[in-house]
Amino acid sequence: MKQEKKVTGDEYFFEIAVFLATSARGCMDEPPLYGPFRLIDGLSRLIDLPKYTPCLSDDAFLKRMKAEIDEKKFLVMFDQEGFRKFLDELVYQFSKELKERTLK
């Protein structure tokens, strides 16, 4: 199989920008619950940015959150309450981390 071309940081950054723009337009017509889904999917994509941008360093906490998001984001399709709980838990993790980083 043909070797895939390596994606540069600029290209990946642009990809996220296109995702956000098309998601914004899509959210005008799509079910309201797709809004939080796109945001959380966008966050997952954003956390991958250091993979393509050498000047950004990997963040262990964010990587852990990304794994969690990718595992649970599809709850939106069939378990609204589960999706809400997952987002609450995610925000809680972020708040704890924010406090730790601010006060250390």
Binding site: M1, T22, G26, D41, F74, D79
Partner: protein
């Protein structure tokens, strides 16, 4: 694969292997779409198959619902202009969508029967798709069918019980499964 088994075991796949799909599979999937039911034999569909990784990449980027990268996609469009000439507003505004949806379901089942994973995507930007694929006015992209070898089998999603969605003889009359 038997039809009922295919219907019951098909899932919307969102993680794929990079492995390419044999050309004969592609033709079979398209044939399955072509033989879908169509009101008044309207056949409003136009299929754009996409194998070029660069174009696939662009489609994926303007389609927030295109989750996971696939080696192949079919953009199912409808010829709204021709539909209107033949069948008026009903054909343009309703049959185009219904017929394309039936063609897509056939494709999804065919892909599944061939051992592939697939997902029907509606969350895309029609404006962007028309620009990327040079789709002329009068032709509308309805759904994108993304296809590849599944890398993760999704679990079975919940469905409403039959008794909850089925009525007998008139709406509101509860239908009960025979024990």
């Amino acid at each position: 694969m038997e039809v009922f088994e295919a219907i019951m075991s098909r899932r919307s796949v969102r993680k794929y292997k990079a492995e390419p799909i044999p050309d004969e599979f592609i033709e079979k999937i398209l044939e399955a779409g072509r033989w879908a039911p169509t009101g008044g034999n309207l056949q409003p569909w136009k299929f754009i198959i996409v194998k070029d990784p660069k174009i696939l990449g662009m489609i994926r980027k303007v389609s927030p619902g295109y989750l996971g990268a696939t080696p192949f996609a079919v953009v199912v469009c409808s010829d709204r202009e021709r539909a209107y000439e033949i069948g008026g507003k009903l054909a343009r505004d309703y049959l185009c969508i219904a017929d394309c949806a039936m063609a897509v379901e056939n494709m999804l089942l065919a892909a599944h029967a061939l051992g592939l994973g697939a997902c029907s995507v509606k969350s895309f930007s029609p404006v962007a798709l028309k620009e990327i694929l040079e789709i002329p006015n009068g032709i509308e992209p309805e759904l994108v069918v993304i296809i590849g070898y599944s890398d993760k089998e999704p679990s079975r999603p919940p469905r409403f019980p039959l008794e909850e969605i089925t009525h007998i003889n008139k709406y509101g009359e509860k239908w009960l499964k025979e024990k």
